[in-house]
Amino acid sequence: MRSVELTVNGVAVVEAVEPRLHLADLLRERLGLTGTHLRCEQGACGACTLLIDGEPARACITYAVLCEGAQITTIEGLEDDPIMVALRRAFTAEHGLQCGFCTPGMLITARDIVRRLPGADERRIRLELSGNLCRCTGYVGIVRAIRRVLQEVRSGALAAAASERRKLGPVGSGRAGPAPGGLSVSPAAAAGGDKRGAIADADLGLAGRKPNIEIHQSLVIARPQAEVWTFLGDVERVVPCMPGATLSAVRGDRLQGGLAIKLGPIVAAFDGEARVVRDDAMQRGMILGAGRDRLGASRASGELEYRLSAVQGGAATRLDITVRALLLGPLAQFGRSAIVTDLAARISEVFARNLERRLAGLPDATQQKAIPAASLLGAVIAERIKNALARLLEKFRR
């Protein structure tokens, strides 16, 4: 196993991988990004074509370890890309797909043609498509669709900036990466398969999906860095610091537990699993989790990343935490509002205080099972009612 850090569709991903794991398997099996298709696995058919450092490349013959620090963009990450929007529209209009198997790779190549060869004629388009095999529709519709988009570019209706790559060498490669050492992965993780718990590894964390909650927090804990790092590695001591959190099982790097939340009238009790990845050399850890609300139908998955650094001449430790989560279901209507963010901020504030006290050998500051946030909720709801009224009024005015 080896640690590899890359960016997938704009989201930082740290994964412990076998060197033989190719990018397509990483994306599909671990991150749940199944838009990258796999067929020949020898670089011939083009189904797995995606963007590495902004340029098209084959995912099936590019091993993840070769892509340290690379920017990976899959078809999922191009949802809002203007050229891709135009291509999707043109593929629909020109019947550019039938079964859809080759389509993600076809679209990536088509986008490259539009950017790199705005003057391409039909012959050139066909030549450029020779590395993407289609078995059902044939190329007529695909070629027409690309020509349609090229026409939009030539008429100035669509902007297509050429690549600005200056660096020489294979796209995605060439970065020295962190110093050797890297991740300490538990033996269970190294030996085990992908499905050790009720939730598959691929469903833990964001898996490249866009989060609807993002929280950054920095806390200073009045203890030396080495002490904090060791403590954070001991999940059975860390979890109780988290208000509302319970730990039911630890198996290797997999944790099972729950998180109870009480927010005025809203109660949620998430049962979930998490996987912990820690990088001793970089003093950085990542918790990839997913859970389901036992009481309602909400689901959540997310990633918590923490980094340690020494402050105050080593007497204290700065803990930088980033949480990115995707909340789905009934609770998600609050997902983008301040409510969840504020609640999470409060939880982590209590967490930091408890952490500090435990390190100092003191009992927890609060023994709450769940965070009551009535006053907070009141403020947010008042805000929401005001907004709803404003929208309603606007409708009447029209």
């Binding site: 340029e55 091993y63 030549l127 790559r165």
Partner: protein
């Protein structure tokens, strides 16, 4: 499909690469873009114990001009040459050949050095660089030696690299301004490996007329004086004809009777390009 297990190491310097290769004593394989090795690993045709990534070694992505030649770092990619990001003055043939290799998605990772070290007889760079009389710059981390490209490749998928050695760069002597190079390959489909290929260098000033036949069963066939197989006066705008008897004899000696017409067609077309 998953390759057989291998360990992974990333070399940050030529010295580090040599150390890793020496420790692995022959069971390691160097990887750059992996566009030839990847399929072989996935198909489990290649089963190295260690894969050594050399792309982070700064020297390997450099283009350096010296007095009468240019050094192209081994990890410069085919699309670096195609796009002119890797600027090589006076050798427009490199961009032309690059644009016809495999597919764009492959060219973005596939390197010139990797292609040469893979030494697939049907590869494009080998015959072209033979026609240009390139040299391979080989290093074991301390000692550097230059090997003529014809000596670098010893057979199909075989090169002369030993122990801790790796290919650092390809050095191409700068041809005269009158020199022209042509390359033609016959393949069943755009982007596929060649069934037959030929490269021809015609340099009126340097009085060179070199022909190379590629996609053979082993090393490319280099004909130093192409007048032995092509009749007519080589000159700009001129035309040469195939000397069917001589070319036929040459191809038979190389045990290439099966696609003889494909080779001779590639040869004549490459020569025509070089004289255009």
């Amino acid at each position: 499909m998953q390759p057989a297990k291998f360990e992974f190491a990333r070399a940050r310097s030529l010295g580090e690469a040599a150390t890793i290769l020496r420790q692995a004593s022959g069971s390691a394989k160097v990887i750059a873009g992996g566009q030839s090795l990847g399929p072989m690993l996935n198909l489990r045709l290649a089963r190295p114990s260690v894969l050594v990534d050399i792309t982070a070694i700064p020297e390997l992505t450099r283009i350096e001009e010296d007095g009468d030649g240019v050094m192209i770092g081994a990890c410069v990619t085919t699309s670096d040459l195609e796009d002119g990001r890797a600027r090589v003055d006076g050798l427009p043939i490199l961009a032309t050949v690059a644009a016809g290799i495999a597919y764009r998605a492959v060219r973005n990772r596939g390197t010139v050095g990797g292609s040469l070290c893979h030494a697939d007889p049907a590869g494009d760079w080998l015959p072209v660089l033979c026609a240009l009389a390139a040299e391979c710059v080989v290093t074991d981390g301390s000692r550097v030696r230059r090997v003529p490209i014809q000596g670098f490749v010893t057979g199909a998928f075989e090169v002369m690299l030993e122990g801790a050695e790796l290919l650092q760069a390809i050095r191409i002597p700068r041809p005269s301004r009158a020199a022209r190079c042509g390359y033609y390959k016959v393949s069943r489909k755009a982007g596929e490996f060649a069934l037959a290929s030929a490269a021809v260098l015609f340099d009126r000033e340097g009085e060179r007329f070199r022909a190379v036949i590629g996609a053979t069963q082993g090393r490319p066939i280099v004909v130093e004086d192409a007048r032995s197989i092509l009749r007519g006066v080589p000159q700009p705008g001129g035309a040469v004809e195939l000397d069917a008897t001589a070319a036929g004899a040459l191809l038979r000696r190389a045990q290439l009777p099966a696609h003889m017409r494909l080779y001779t067609t590639a040869l004549v077309r490459a020569a025509a390009q070089a004289m255009a």
